[in-house]
Every structure is written in structure tokens, then in C-alpha cells.
């Protein structure tokens, strides 16, 4: 698993788009379309560049992104708003996990 992750990360780093973004100094979330997460303490989480909600309960939110899933674990989780561009999760956030990461195309 560890070896695979390393491969993935090295691929990510060497991809054409990544190089392009580095050269042009454009933000990576725009060029690569990868999710951007902004956290305020443990109580607010902004997720941008996502594809949709897979599962939502008050203790777990699974969000589908380009490269896989993001699992947000916590208590009393609430989706403050939910639009095409971003969503905001409030509540007590305990952990955030990235799962099923695949190599970028």
C-alpha cells in the first residue's frame, strides 16, 4: 500500500498538468481539478471541486471527488449549504480521510 501511494504521488508530481500549473503559476485546484478543503478549527469545513455526496449521516459524510472519496467523520454534522461549486459542513469534525485514490489520468 505504502509503495503504491508513493508511486501515485510521484506520478502526480510528474504529470503534465502539474508541471504546467507549476510553470504558469496557476492555482493547482483550477488546473488539476483536485478538491480544495478549508478548515476553521474543528467546526467548519469548506469543500470545493467535488462531484457529489455519496453518503450523509450526522456522524459521517462521504464526498465523491475526481481522485476518489473524502470521508469526514464527526458528530452532529450538518451541511450548511450545498451548491455546484462548494459545500460547507459544520459540526464537530473528528477526522478527514482520503480513500480509493487512483492515479490521475
Amino acid at each position: 500500500m505504502k509503495a503504491k501511494r508513493q508511486v501515485v504521488s510521484s506520478r502526480e508530481e510528474h504529470s503534465f498538468k502539474n508541471r504546467l500549473s507549476e510553470l504558469s503559476e496557476l492555482p493547482k485546484d483550477v488546473v488539476l481539478g483536485i478538491p480544495m478543503l478549508t478548515m476553521v478549527g474543528q467546526m467548519e469545513l469548506n469543500i470545493e471541486n467535488y462531484r457529489g455526496i455519496i453518503e450523509y449521516t450526522d456522524s459521517l459524510i462521504r464526498v465523491h471527488t475526481k481522485d476518489g472519496q473524502i470521508r469526514v467523520n464527526g458528530k452532529n454534522l450538518k451541511v450548511e449549504y450545498y451548491t455546484n461549486d462548494e459545500m460547507k459542513v459544520t459540526g464537530h469534525i473528528v477526522s478527514i480521510e482520503y480513500v480509493n485514490l487512483t492515479a490521475p489520468s
Binding site: 457529489g52 455526496i53 453518503e55 450523509y56 450538518k78 450548511e80 449549504y81 450545498y82 451548491t83 455546484n84
Partner: protein
Amino acid sequence: MLSRLICYIRGYLRIRIAGYSTERFLNACRHRGIYLWGLQAVSGAYEMNISISGFRKLKPIIRKTRTKVTIIKRSGLPFYLFRYRKRKLFFAGAFCFVFLIFWMSHYIWNIDITGNSTRTDETLLEFLKAKSVQNGMAKSDVDCQRIVKDIRKEYDDIIWVSASIRGTKLYIRVKENEDSPSVSAKGNPKQNGEQEENAGQPVDIVADKSCIIESAVVRNGLFQTKIGAKVKKGDVLVSGQIPVNNDAGEIIGYQYHVSDADIIGKTALKYEDSCLNTYIEKEDYDICKQEYYFKVGNIRFTLGGIQNDYENFTLSGQQWQLKIFDNFFFPVYWGKRWAVPYKPHEKQRRKEDLQQILTERFVRYCEDLEKKGVEIIENDVKIYTGQNESSAKGNLTVRMPIGKEKAAKLLKIPEKKEEAEKETGEKTDGNDGNSH
């Protein structure tokens, strides 16, 4: 806060989604650009807020995702108005409110004056009122340029004025000349106004009191008297007409000036003051008649009364006026009046008390004089005690600024003499011609 207000105005629904693939419902909403907020998971279902227009687009999504939608709550202005649609007076009131706000925003509701330190707000407001600029006037009638010009013309010590309207408030900013001495030193502003009007005309300085001239600093004009000379009231001290002489030393014209000089003269002031030897001591009864009142214009509503059968009573009162902001007063008053009857006792003043009263008054008079720049050299004021009243009498010898400005009587150029000379010249010429 603003987004919440907008949501309230547009109206929104709280709905509950239940069914097999509720997540799919959420994603479909997102895909179609339907805005959802306040999403919460409640026992196998989701509760969320949705706009009215968003809710109308839900039908195909519900069919596709096979979910069940229940409306829990309707909130916002459209629902509120629909619920109370039969209350016509309510709508009339709301319309009146909007109309009043709109209508009243066409008037000046407050005048804000800043930057004035020697002139009070009240003085400036009174002046503006005289120029018909006041609270409650229509905004369209305010001519800021005119206000600026009027203030600049009226007050010489105000060197900069700006007038502007923001909302329903008239802002007047002034800058006073900090270098100039006190405002009243050179007479009241009206005189200054007159000076401007008399531009080009000569102005003399005349004695306003009989005195002996002690010193004079003449900045403009021709000094007409000497140091140490005695002058009478009305004598010209400094002339605003300076003669222009020709080579022969004859006056051929006058240059007109507005005289300006500081003249100090020694003069005598008469002082007289008196005080009765008796005074009335009031012995209050243990009664107090009170009256509360409320006044709108000339109509008065009272509660209680101050009428009583006693011959003497002290009537006191306190009144408030309704105002908004700092200086917008309405003709609405309320207050309280109370009368306390008393029994008068005539009592004799002690000699020391009389002396003290008269001395205090005299000292205050002297202090007032000193504030005006008068220097007291000598005084022979004495207190005389009579049978009924005591008095302080005497003369004060003082050194004080003398002179007031007065439009000069125009002097005539002595033309007759010249004409006479011309005539004689011609004659002599003629004589000369004859002799040749």
C-alpha cells in the same frame, strides 16, 4: 445576515426528503443548480431549506430518484403576505409607511454644524433661520452656494465654509480664523457688513466719549488731533480723507480710506448703584400645589392645578420640548408647575450686609470693564447709607479704547480759490498783452 434577509423576502420552504436514494436527490439538485441550505440528517431522512423557485423544479428529480418530499414549514414574506391578504388596513399602513419615508426624505431633518469654536451652533442656526434655512425645509429649496456666501459675508472671522446635503442632513463645515482677535473687538458683524457696502467711501473714527488722548496707533487715515489733547464726544479723531496737494501746496483732491487706528484715551465714568435697606423673607407654608401639563401647539392638557387662595406664592416650572437629533424641535411640550404659598416678613438688612452687596456689585462691574480692555486708574466710589436705601456713587477714571467708525462727511475741494486765481491770472495776462 444579508443573504438571510434576501431568503426571507423571496420566501423558502423547509422540506423533508425520504426514500431509497436520497443522496442521489441531493446530487441531482446540485446538478440542476438548485440551491439547498440547512441540510440535516434526521432519522433516515434529510431536512433542508429550498427556495420557492427551486421547489418548482423538483418534480422530475423526485420522479427519477423515487423519493418522497414533505413540506414541513413555509417561511418568508410571500407566505406571510398570503396569510394576511384579507387585512386591508395592514397593507394600507404598510403603503403609508413606505410613502411617508419617501415623502419625508425630501426634507431637511437636521443641520449639523462643525468647526465653530467662537460662534455657537445656536448663533449660526439663528442666522440661517433668518435666511430661511431651517429644519423641515424642502431639500430642493436648499441652495448650498447661497448658504456659503451668506455665512462668509456675515461673519468676517469665518474664513472657509462648506455646505452639503447628505441624506436628509445638511452639513455645514466652517473654519474660523484662529489668528484674529476676539470677534467683538472690532464691533458687531453688521458694521463689518456696512463697511463692505461702503467700499470706496471714506470712513472716519470719531470719539465716542469726551476724553484726553493718551496714545494713538494709526494704521490708515489721517490723525486729526494730538496726544494729550482734550476731545469731545463726536470729534473726528482720524479722518478717512487724505488731502492730495499740488506743488504749490494747494489741495487738489482727496484720497478716500477706511480709517483704522487704536486710540487710548483717559476719561471719567460715572458709577451709581443702590440697594434697599429692607428685604422680604419668605416663610413657606407646608403646601405645594402641583400641575402636570402636555402642550401641543396652543392646546394644553393639564393634570392637577396650581390655584390657591393665598395672597403670595412662589410659582416654579420646568418644561421640556420634543426634539429629534440635536436641534429639530417640534411644537410639543410637557412639563410641571408648582406653587408654594408663603408668608412675607419684611426685615432690615445689617450694615455689613449692605456694604458687602454693594461692594460685590461694584467689583463685578470693574471686572466687566477690565474684560473690555478698560484700565481703571482711579476710583472714588463711596457707599452712602440712607434711611430707606443705600447707594454706591462716584467717578472712575479710566484708560480705555476710544473711537467708533463713522461714514465721513465728504470734504469739498476748494475749487473757488482756484477759479478766482484763474480769473486773476487771465486778467494779468490781459494786462501784460496790453502793455506790449
